[in-house]
């Protein structure tokens, strides 16, 4: 059981990285990765929301939508729930944890419509449909791992971008073009992790 969970966690970070392997959440990946501290702040917020969103959407899907044969409403219901949830978290954080609110402040509302969050909530259900042992706990671990994977990608790429700043880049590649090239190279390097988790724990 524990081994299984560790495998899911590692796979979510390395082989199924949402940014570098599934290409979800590219917008914050390119937008907020300019500095290391903002990248970390954003990733912590994303991880937080991913886990809580999965914790709420999974039961709603399984116990409300499936019995009524309303699987097709998945997207709209999930977006509604995620948006409301993020708002609620924001209000609660402002009241009870002002330091955390100040640290995450601007990033929280940005996450409401982050496709990586929606992607996690929907893909864990897809996985659960394919593999009956993939239940609620596994989904939560997967969501947490995906968030950490997002953080790994963000922090790695923030480092790459800080290097890019001091480099002499040809004029036609300055700005976004070189950033996209660098992002693709980082993504290719992550392909090297394919099979690693199965090899380690299988």
């Amino acid at each position: 059981m524990i081994k299984n969970l560790v495998a899911i966690f590692l796979a979510a970070i390395l082989t199924e990285n949402y940014v570098l392997n599934k290409f979800l959440g590219i917008c914050p990946f390119l937008g907020v990765s300019k500095k290391l501290n903002t990248a970390t702040g954003m990733s912590v917020a994303v991880t937080f929301v991913m886990v809580i969103a999965t914790a709420v959407t999974w039961p709603i899907y399984m116990y409300l939508l499936v019995p009524n044969q309303l699987e097709y409403l998945q997207t709209i219901v999930f977006i509604l729930i995620i948006a409301a949830l993020v708002q609620l978290i924001e209000i609660a954080l402002r009241k009870f944890m002002p330091p955390l609110y100040n640290a995450l402040g601007i990033y929280l509302p940005l996450i409401t419509t982050n496709c990586a969050v929606l992607g996690v909530t929907m893909l864990v259900i897809e996985k659960g449909a394919a593999d009956p042992t993939f239940g609620y706990v596994q989904s939560l671990v997967n969501a947490f791992g995906s968030g950490i994977g997002f953080m790994v990608a963000m922090v790695l790429f923030a480092g790459v971008r800080e290097r890019l700043e001091t480099n002499d880049i040809p004029k036609f590649l300055k700005g976004l073009p070189i950033t996209l090239i660098a992002a693709s190279l980082v993504a290719v390097s992550f392909l090297g992790f394919q099979g690693l988790v199965d090899g380690l724990l299988g």
């Binding site: 509604l80 729930i81 209000i91 402002r94």
Partner: protein, 267 residues
């Protein structure tokens, strides 16, 4: 019919619950806002320069509202903002002396030279790590523009290898003072007075080797000063702005032309 109604009801109910939940949460967990601090923040210039010593304008406004800070610390806002804030808080007016930043170096390429061809990271902070900096004068301006980048008002230029502050644009926020690794920039009161445009504390002969306009500590300025404002210590003249009467005698006496009158700083 049910096929149509059940999804509509479910989504509507989820939306309603979410909306109501948020409404209730926002009432239950409302954070009382500090109106005083918000009013004061609206008066401040919003430059977030940090000259007051607080974390941006909102930090200073908060400290003012709680009575922890005095009005008049805001350099970009100057006397006007200080007056507004002290009126709002019901405090006595504070006199704010306008100050501008002055670069204490005249080491342009005409007057001094570089001791190396520097191709490293193009910041003063990085260059200063390497054998005491690019300039052959170890006290002098390296002209790589850390101060230019720190200035939010575009008041600083690096021209011919030496930084220059345009006094009419300078708000006295002191960001450049902190940015300069050679501590060449200081804030001086904006009034008629003499300023020393050199920071070199080496002996005269050594200064003479590296710079045509460096202060050699010849004491001529100190001798002609009737107000006792000019002092030469460590082979380097300094002017005390409080004592300086702006007569200009030291400027005339200086054989190295590194003393300038404040009003001649405008480029």
């Amino acid at each position: 019919m049910n096929q149509l109604w059940i999804p509509i009801v479910i989504v509507a109910v989820i939306g309603l619950i979410a909306g109501l939940g948020l409404a209730i949460a926002s009432i239950l967990m409302a954070v009382p806002k500090d109106e005083k601090a918000e009013d004061i923040e609206a008066m401040l210039p919003g430059a977030n320069c940090g000259a007051c010593g607080y974390s941006g304008c909102s930090g200073y406004a908060k400290a003012l509202a709680h009575g922890e800070a005095q009005p008049g610390l805001c350099a970009p806002g100057g006397a006007e903002v200080a007056k507004m804030v002290s009126q709002y808080l019901g405090l006595a007016d504070v006199d704010v002396e306008a100050k501008v930043a002055v670069v204490h170096c005249l080491g342009s390429y005409d007057n001094t030279s570089d001791k190396m061809e520097y191709e490293g990271i193009q910041t003063c902070a990085a260059a200063a790590q390497l054998a005491g900096g690019v300039s052959s004068c170890r006290y002098g301006c390296m002209g790589l523009g850390d101060c230019v980048r720190s200035c939010a008002y575009g008041a600083i230029d690096v021209c011919n290898g030496v930084a220059h502050v345009e006094p009419s644009r300078c708000k006295g926020c002191s960001m450049c003072v902190k940015a300069c690794p050679k501590q060449l920039i200081s804030l001086v009161p904006l009034k008629k007075q003499a300023v020393v445009r050199c920071d070199n504390c080496d002996k005269g002969a050594m200064t003479n080797k590296v710079c045509k306009v460096g202060c050699i500590g010849c004491m001529k300025c100190q001798k002609v000063c009737e107000a006792g404002a000019v002092k030469v210590e460590h082979f380097h003249a300094t002017v005390d702005p409080e004592k300086c009467i702006g007569c200009g005698k030291c400027v005339e006496a200086c054989p190295r032309h590194c003393l300038t009158m404040m009003e001649h700083l405008q480029a």
